[in-house]
Symmetry: D2
Subunit: 122 residues, 4 copies
């Protein structure tokens, strides 16, 4: 899905993951606005990646369990930018807050994601 | 985004919209499971489409406002199937419940979406 | 909290728990409407109780983990009535959908709750 | 509900509302932990109060529309403390993030609330 949408991301510090995806017709809905699903996809990718980086050395996987979003301002061009910050590192789940902004730095969505930590198959 | 992910959908009755997207590497994350973002994208598309069909004759638009998901069972092949049922048709927002199933009919996610109803630009 | 709010509940079938709380000034906010917190409290009680009944014989506890609500119609008198239906019985979490109605049977809120299943302290 | 639960709150700056409720058997569930409903009630009170203070001079009311919570750490004694920060002041809805802590300052829950802004009855 990262290739399909052009998602790029990087660990940006302890417990912080940043990423973005370019706005194109691939992620616009018919009214010309970026589809909310693109924002949610970016948010889940950032949160899952950050969790996996934190647990993989213990033989664990990271799987999205719960995600919720308040979509507050449409994005029409530039990039969908996301910053995910971990708020809880639990034994069975990590909780992240994700802020989505446009290229002007305006807050466009607030998302919270719970990523389950599970044993990797042997 | 519908083309990018291959989403198909149709009005399936009064207040019910159904749709699906085919599973391919476009929507898988690195572990081989369908990305939760694909389920959320489908759910928001179904809910927004259903709302828009209901309000467009009044000169209104439909915009995703809130969406939340419980991801319960991974999907790895076949299709991501969604059924959205409207639970409230408000003046300023419609509320939908969406069930996501795999091709065996197993429940994979429960999603609730609030779609704002706004005046279309003149 | 059940005594403070007057919550009554009962197992109403396999995977279904029903309950209610009487509307009084204890649960009204200053505008005369029932506080959304009362609806959420009822929903979490129903879901937690239903989960606990299902796991207690295995030496497990039930703890609220995630809860979300769409508040759709105010309640001003009578009772806050709730019906919780389990949608997933997982090893580490159960997922419930809760419908809140007034005494006229009108849908007032939709709530989804994830209740974690944990080992009881020895 | 504020009296029933002993909720106190105050405007703590522009766009910030703080409050707390004392832990007693009124808000404990049977296992001795504070009921999640008490945390949600506090969060909705803070968000609704803050919205109302911001819109009342325009003849508007504030009504809870959506609320979601990640319950992360149980509270057993002292107070349930909440800080609500507004993240969007929209024409028809305000969005708040609420952090719940115990008296030791540990993060116990993250809550996001959408409060609808409506015309007051004449």
């Amino acid at each position: 899905m990262h290739d399909a949408l052009g998602i790029e991301m990087e660990q940006a510090g302890d417990g912080v993951v940043k990423g973005r995806l370019p706005v194109s017709d691939r992620v616009r809905q018919p009214f010309g606005l970026v589809h909310g699903g693109a924002l949610l996809t970016l948010a889940e990718s950032l949160s899952s990646f950050g969790t996996y980086e934190g647990v993989k050395d213990d033989g664990k996987l990271a799987l999205g369990q719960e995600i919720n979003a308040s979509l507050m301002r449409p994005i029409t061009s530039g990039h969908v930018n996301g910053t995910a910050t971990v708020r809880r590192r639990g034994r069975t789940a990590w909780v992240w807050e994700v802020e989505i902004t446009d290229d002007a730095g305006r807050l466009c969505a607030l998302i919270r994601a719970t990523i389950a930590v599970r044993d990797a198959p042997a």
